[in-house]
Symmetry: C2
Subunit: 220 residues, 2 copies
DNA sequence: GTTTGAATCAAACGATCGTTTGAGAATACG
DNA sequence: CGTATTCTCAAACGATCGTTTGATTCAAAC
């Protein structure tokens, strides 16, 4: 076997590190969470991170790759179900874009932390991470833009990307649960996110349907 | 006098520290930017931070307070010009909410960094900072919500706050210039932000005007 | 049973962090 | 002027950071 000899534990050392890192990066940031905190939370030796991942930066990359691949797949699968069909509504495509992102934080307790990690990555404004995201998401975004263009024939390509950018902003914000609106203690988190998704989809649909205005020079 | 004896310099030590800290916090985060970087950029001795501000945390608070007070004032002033009047449009109120935030980054080179700092503060998800922001912005948000309620009589109060939250998310995202769409090199940053403001306002107006739906069972 | 290689561990490495110190320079005030 | 106060500065403090080392433990290969 190529797998770890120590695999008798519930989860492998690598997975425990990834999980702990995800949670701690979400709450303390990449620079704020130390490898000592991470390894302690994972009940793993300090040296394990450098042994399994090489460095802290590589660990951060792995945290991203693991979840992004999943989100990538889910979004494209959801889009494939509605793309190109005659009775597809704008809300259906928005749902395919928004729901997998919000779902990611419901199905898995660990993934809930990741959405905050993702939002933080945007805030970090790190050029390396930005490039990494753009390379891994460029084709996804392009596919969605194409489908939106089909459903909104009145809008220019530039305009579509502008509006998709706004939707992504609101989605990122919602995923990270940044909102001013505090979830009431008697409301389940699932329900809260479901409500957030519904509001977001309806709001975004209205914004996207808005007829285009001749804007002198389209910049972005 | 209570002012600094060394005041013969172009700007005081405190102000130079604040400016440098703002810029470095924006690019490297609060934990990522060290006081040695900050003091070096400000051409100031390392000990000056603890002498003038007490600690790094207090410095962070000061960076926030300085700009937030200004944004606070501008937003309320802009709102006062249109609130309660007969011919006020939804776009006018949105403009009062959105433009001061985006303007902050155009009038002053230093303030441009702050909008990223602000966005990062949301991402940090720090409970202390969140409380600080909510205490300093609660009344502003309430005033805007009241005006929106007047212009959108068909919407419940809860619904208003939900949608304002979405607008804030997209605005935060836009302020930080997170967008996937890169600004073309031949486009001035002022024009870029102006275009961003226009898109955001029109998008948000459409989303806000969207008639309310009985929330019970929604989407899909 | 011996060998082999992967995985874990305690301990230490040098670097950098935020903060403190104490002496000295610059200004204010009598 | 002399004294007091404010500010600056180089240097060092202890703590913590990411990383490396070398010995040890474990499971499988032969």
């Amino acid at each position: 076997m190529t797998s770890a000899p120590y695999a008798s534990r519930e989860r492998s050392t690598k997975e425990r590190i990834l999980g702990a890192a995800e949670a701690l990066f979400a709450t303390h940031g990449f620079a704020g969470a130390s490898l000592r905190q991470v390894t302690a939370a994972a009940r793993v030796n300090l040296a394990a991170v450098n042994y399994h991942f090489g460095s802290k930066d590589k660990l951060i990359e792995e945290v991203f790759r693991r979840r992004l691949d999943e989100l990538n797949t889910r979004r494209l699968a959801a889009l494939a179900k509605v793309a190109g069909q005659e009775d597809t509504s704008l809300e259906d495509v928005l749902d395919a874009y928004i729901r997998p992102a919000l779902d990611l934080s419901r199905n898995d307790g660990g993934a809930a932390a990741f959405v905050r990690v993702l939002a933080r990555a945007y805030a970090e404004h790190n050029e390396t991470l930005r490039k990494f995201l753009s390379e891994n998401y460029g084709h996804v975004l392009r596919q969605f833009a194409g489908e939106f263009a089909r459903l909104l024939p009145g809008l220019a390509k530039d305009e579509i990307y502008w509006r998709l950018d706004i939707v992504t902003g609101a989605l990122t914000y919602a995923m990270a649960d940044f909102g001013i609106i505090q979830r009431k203690s008697d409301v389940d988190e699932r329900d809260h996110r479901e409500t957030a998704a519904e509001h977001l989809i309806r709001f975004a649909a209205a914004g996207l349907r808005n007829p285009s205005v001749s804007t002198s020079t389209a910049t972005r």
